[in-house]
C-alpha cells in the first residue's frame, strides 16, 4: 500500500493496524503508514474521514484504541505519558487555530518549550527564536502579543514555535483552513521552504495546489481507512480507486 521508501534507513514514524474508536464508532479502522525521514506526506479526504484523528494519534493527542506506533524504530507505549512526552519533543504540531498562548509575547511563546524541555538555555532559545522569526519575516513582532497579529502571522509564529524544539517531524492539521485567503499564501510559502530544507512533514490540507507541488506522497483517506497512497502525479493524475476519483472530481 505505502510507497517504497529508502530501504536503508527505518521510517521515522511507523504505524501498524491503527484503530481509534469513539464510543464504538471507528474513526480509524486499521491504518498502516510509514513516514520516511525528509518526506512530505499530504493527507487528503472528505470531512470526517479520520485525517485529524490519524495525525493526532501520531503524537499522542488521541490515545489509539489499538495498533502500534514506532518513532525512529522505537515503539511508543501509547498509554505512557512519559513515552509520549519524549516522542513529542521530536514531533511538533501545528494546529488549525494556531493555539498560541494569548498571555505571552511571541518570543515567550517560542522560547518556553525548548527551555522547559532542556533543549536549550534561555539565551540559546532566544537566539534560535529570533533567527527563525527573521526567516519567516516576523522578527519585528517578537515582543507583540498574539492578539496583535494577523491569522497568517500567528500561524507562522506557531510554525516557528514548533521548529524551536528542533523536531524531527512536524504535523500540520489544516494549517491554512482558518486563514483569510490573502494570508494563506504566506503560510504555505513557509511550509514549502521547510519542505525544501528536508523537514519531515505530515500535512492534512485541502490545498491541492500545495499537495501537488510539495508532497512526496499523497494519502487519500475515507471512513477511517487509507484508500490509496501514491505520488501526487499518481493520485491526482490517475487515481487507482474510484472513490479517490469521486472525491477529486468533487473538490477540483
Amino acid at each position: 500500500m505505502t510507497a517504497a521508501v529508502s530501504p536503508s534507513s527505518p521510517p521515522l514514524i511507523s504505524v501498524r493496524g491503527l484503530v481509534k474508536s469513539f464510543k464504538g464508532m471507528r474513526a480509524l479502522d486499521g491504518v498502516d503508514a510509514d513516514i520516511a525521514r525528509g518526506e512530505v506526506l499530504v493527507v487528503i479526504g472528505p470531512s470526517g474521514s479520520g485525517k485529524s484523528t490519524f495525525i493526532r494519534c501520531l503524537n499522542g493527542l488521541e490515545m489509539p484504541t489499538d495498533g502500534r506506533i514506532e518513532v525512529d524504530g522505537a515503539p511508543v507505549q501509547t498509554r505512557s505519558n512519559r513515552d509520549w512526552r519524549r516522542a513529542r519533543q521530536r514531533i511538533g504540531m501545528v494546529f488549525q487555530d494556531y493555539s498560541l498562548f494569548p498571555h505571552m509575547t511571541v518570543l515567550r511563546n517560542i522560547c518556553l518549550a525548548p527551555q522547559r524541555a532542556g533543549v536549550a538555555t534561555a539565551a540559546q532559545a532566544e537566539e534560535t527564536a529570533i533567527r527563525l522569526l527573521r526567516r519567516v519575516g516576523l522578527a519585528h513582532k517578537a515582543d507583540s502579543y498574539p492578539v496583535e497579529l494577523s491569522g497568517g502571522q500567528q500561524q507562522r509564529v506557531a510554525i516557528v514555535r514548533a521548529l524551536a524544539m528542533k523536531p524531527d517531524a512536524i504535523l500540520f492539521d489544516e494549517p491554512t483552513s482558518a486563514l483569510d485567503p490573502e494570508t494563506v499564501g504566506e503560510v504555505l510559502a513557509v511550509m514549502r521552504e521547510l519542505a525544501r530544507e528536508g523537514m519531515t512533514m505530515v500535512v492534512v490540507t485541502h490545498e491541492m495546489g500545495f499537495a501537488r507541488e510539495v508532497a512526496d506522497r499523497v494519502m487519500f483517506m475515507d471512513r477511517g481507512r487509507i484508500v490509496e497512497t501514491g505520488t501526487p502525479a499518481q493520485v491526482f493524475g490517475s487515481p487507482a480507486e474510484p472513490r479517490t476519483r469521486e472525491f477529486l472530481d468533487m473538490i477540483l
Partner: protein, 223 residues
C-alpha cells in the same frame, strides 16, 4: 417615640470595635489566602483527574457545599480537639473558614480551568510540557483571570462569614458589637458602626481584586 441615636457612643466604643475589626481582618485574610491555595490545588487535582484524590476532592466539595457553615465551625472547634488536635479559637476559625472557602474556590478555579480552550492544552502537550508546566504557565494565568469575579464573591463571603466565629467565642467585629449591645443596648449605633466597617473592608477587597484583574489583563490589550 424616637430613638436617640448617639454618635458619641460609637466614638467611645470605637477602640474596642477596631480591635474586633483587626481580628476579623486577620482571620479573613489568612482564610482567604488558604482557601485560594486549596482552590488551586483542588482544581488542579480535578483537572488532571488524579485517581482517588480527584474523588476525595469531589466529596469534600460536595460535603462543604451541602452543609451549613455553623455546624462546620463547631465540628472543627470541638471535633478536632476531640481527636486530640488542640487548636486555639483563632486557628479553629481560620481552619473552618479556609475549608469552607476552599471548597467554593475549587469550583471557581475549576470553572476557570475549563474555560481555557482545549486547544491550548493540546498545544502545551504537543510542546512536551509537563502537566505541572501547563498548570502553572497556561491554565493558572488564563483560568484565574476568568474565575477572579467568582473568587471575589467567595472571598467576600469568607469575610462576612467570619462573623459566625463568634459562636466559638472569637472576639471578632460582630462579637465585640454584640457584646456591647448586651451591655448597653445601643443597638442601632452598633449596627451602623459595624455596617460601615464591613462595607469598608469589602470595598477595599474589591478594589484589590480590580487591580489584580488589571494586571492579569495587561497582556491581552492591543496597543
Amino acid at each position: 417615640m424616637t430613638y436617640d441615636f448617639q454618635f458619641g457612643y460609637i466614638v467611645d466604643t470605637m477602640p474596642a470595635l477596631l480591635d474586633g475589626l483587626l481580628i476579623t481582618i486577620e482571620v479573613s485574610v489568612i482564610s482567604i489566602a488558604i482557601s485560594v491555595v486549596i482552590g488551586i490545588v483542588g482544581a488542579a487535582i480535578r483537572l488532571f483527574e488524579i485517581p482517588v484524590l480527584s474523588q476525595v476532592v469531589g466529596g469534600y466539595v460536595h460535603f462543604i457545599r451541602s452543609t451549613p457553615l455553623l455546624p462546620q465551625i463547631y465540628f472543627v472547634f470541638y471535633g478536632f480537639s476531640g481527636l486530640g488536635l488542640q487548636l486555639s479559637t483563632f486557628w479553629s476559625g481560620v481552619l473552618a473558614l479556609s475549608l469552607w472557602g476552599g471548597a467554593y474556590n475549587i469550583e471557581n478555579v475549576r470553572g476557570g480551568f475549563l474555560a481555557v480552550s482545549k486547544g491550548l492544552r493540546e498545544a502545551a502537550g504537543s510542546l512536551a510540557f509537563r502537566p505541572i508546566h501547563y498548570l502553572w504557565l497556561v491554565a493558572l494565568p488564563l483560568g484565574v483571570r476568568i474565575s477572579l469575579p467568582t473568587m471575589l464573591n467567595t472571598a467576600v463571603s469568607v469575610l462576612k462569614n467570619s462573623a459566625y466565629l463568634q459562636a466559638i467565642g472569637l472576639a471578632e467585629l460582630t462579637f465585640v458589637a454584640m457584646d456591647r449591645v448586651a451591655l448597653d443596648f445601643r443597638i442601632l449605633e452598633m449596627f451602623a458602626a459595624i455596617g460601615v466597617l464591613y462595607l469598608g473592608i469589602v470595598l477595599i477587597l474589591s478594589l484589590f481584586v480590580r487591580r489584580l484583574e488589571g494586571v492579569l489583563q495587561r497582556p491581552f490589550r492591543t496597543s
